[in-house]
Symmetry: C2
């Protein structure tokens, strides 16, 4: 054992030294100098960043993903980096996240790429496209199949560095106050459905609407919309949609495995020392998986409650409606690919990967599930 | 701009201060004192650890997972922690990893839990059991469904702290020099197949063998075994099994989503400061996903090469053979659960989660895949 006095002396010395280190950092910070990210001051100074999101504050799954990233970064950096997370509307509106990060008013954002389809049409491939990749498949394409390089290329002109940051798994088609027995029932249907899914609905005769999550319950209850998709049982139960709609339709053909995104202002990113960059990338990758784990672990329990306690009617979309949606989806995607070279490049990479992984899954996981469920 | 002289001065000062900080750490280290993990010396001292594995050095997928963990830990800790990775046989044999970590001769190991079934029968549930959970499902059970707490409980008597550390996805049933057209063909079949899969084969009349990966090619080529499972196309192509066997069978009913494990000696783990513990947990979670991504991205290409270039015959196991294997599996698993209370507790948790997630997947991902593939 070391005596209390010696330990106290050591602790005091350590504090003095650390104060000195911080002072050196501050002095160089005050010089206004812009150094490379590996310089000594960037290496040791503390960082306090702000992160805006498109989700209600602390919303299960979606909203907790950036909170978890922030916690991990602070713990792993031993307090060197602190990130404060804001809910939609606290500092910028739900759909203002991309602009906030692009302009640098905020260093970080957490959202879904298909919200920016007006600005960056190809961004939709990195969230989810109808009849596209599942959660595992989009992870493999983005992280190991060339997707991430393309994603960074298309966000680069906006001064944004994206990192995959969560996945909900296959979503539900959603909540309906009208039964869908045939394609006729889709005509005139007013439904909240973002991204390419919305375009498919429009082409099939429906009326797609884009609204942030927080406004959906009232819109559904007051009849402003006939139907809405949101996420799946775990999140949908939280919003109480079962009190505003009668039928719950599957499968979620429009969003088979939507990937969320962490957006980082490029100048802010480049100002970080290497170890903090790796900490952010790794924390975000861990949360990407944790989010999917959470949805998968909670969805069935929530579904059981919806059906058995709240009397929700679970319905499967008729085959001919699915087939029509699929045909329209394929057309819209290939038309989109013709719009410009960048979209075409992303589309080609996505479709080639999808064809490959679909073939492989047929003899691996799909074949196993068939064997297990018989 | 700060002058070169001033920068040089700052750098020199920084080095001197850091040397002093390290010295203080060393002085307290020499005192032989055992302090709590949050003490100042544990916080700042450097750690050099050794990690032994059950895989050939730098083997794609399996063997690269611990290398990636080591790299991330070193980068995120800014060099505070360095982990050296050893291949099977370099310091301990492939199947000596558990004992090495348990005894503390090595701080870390990377392996698969079903190799320790003689010591810890319940460990098999945390790798893979026949007709059990897929990669996503076991992630959700372990990380969000109570599995991890049970896993840590059953390894605790061995002084080991486990972390999920990679997944290959659904494996192939494997390589055969005999055709399997009926249950008769399974009788007398000598096959390398570890874990409960091997027990199922035995019950069906076959002869299961356990051998490390590095010995499989020769055993297959010389006729010591008639068949072997290994992983899937990406890894199997590397080992050249197509030069030693004719038929490649699917589905991999025996290992639907095997989870690898990082093993940490409990005393070594407890000696770490909190930020290094979080760094290790987070790096390992990130690699858990990256490994699956890698397999998924590479398997189809490898399969195409095996079939189209090397003329491998891809075969589906007959339905009645699958059904018999499933019936035997269910029986073996429920018998195993009766053996003792601990196995029973793990079994109950696993089966309840499996039933829930299977039901949910039927209306979500499975239903989507059916819609996509039609």
């Amino acid at each position: 054992m070391v005596s209390y006095g010696l330990r106290k002396f050591r602790e005091t010395m350590m504090k003095k030294i650390l104060t000195f280190v911080l002072l050196i950092g501050l002095i160089s910070g005050c010089s206004g100098e812009q150094e490379s990210s590996n310089s000594a001051d960037a290496e040791y100074k503390t960082y306090k960043w702000r992160l805006v999101t498109s989700w209600p504050k602390n919303y299960p799954g979606l909203g907790m993903a950036p909170e978890k990233i922030a916690n991990l970064v602070e713990e792993m950096s031993n307090g060197q980096m602190q990130i404060t997370v804001y809910g939609a509307g606290e500092q910028v509106p739900a759909f203002g996240v991309f602009d906030a990060v692009s302009s640098g008013s905020h260093q970080m954002g957490h959202s879904g790429g298909y919200f920016w389809k007006g600005k960056v049409p190809a961004a939709q491939f990195f969230t989810s496209v109808p009849f596209g990749l599942t959660a595992d498949e989009i992870n493999a394409w983005v992280n190991r199949g060339g997707g991430l390089e393309l994603w960074r290329e298309i966000y680069e002109p906006f001064n944004i560095y994206p990192i995959p940051a969560g996945n909900t798994g296959t979503q539900m088609f959603g909540w309906f106050n009208k039964e869908i027995n045939s394609l006729e029932d889709v005509k005139g249907l007013k439904m909240r459905i973002p991204g390419i899914g919305g375009e498919v609905l429009k082409e099939a005769g429906g009326i797609p609407v884009t609204l942030p999550g927080g406004e959906l319950f009232t819109a559904l209850q007051t009849g402003v919309i006939d139907a809405t998709e949101w996420v799946g049982p775990y999140n949908d139960l939280t919003f109480g949609f079962h009190q505003a709609a009668k039928y719950y339709y599957y499968p979620g053909w429009h969003e088979p495995g939507p990937m969320l995104e962490l957006l980082i202002n490029m100048d802010a990113w480049n100002s970080l020392p290497k170890h903090l960059q790796v900490i952010i990338e790794t924390a975000t990758k861990a949360v990407n998986q944790d989010t999917l784990d959470e949805y998968l672990a909670r969805n069935n329990q929530a579904l059981t409650e919806l059906v058995e306690v709240h009397g929700v009617e679970l319905r499967k979309l008729p085959d001919d409606v699915i087939e029509e949606f699929r045909a329209i989806s394929n057309e819209i995607l290939s038309d989109l690919a013709e719009e410009d070279e960048v979209i075409g490049k992303v589309y080609d990479s996505y479709i080639e990967f999808k064809n490959n992984v679909t073939e492989y899954h047929k003899i691996s996981e799909d074949s196993f599930i068939e064997a297990r469920n018989k």
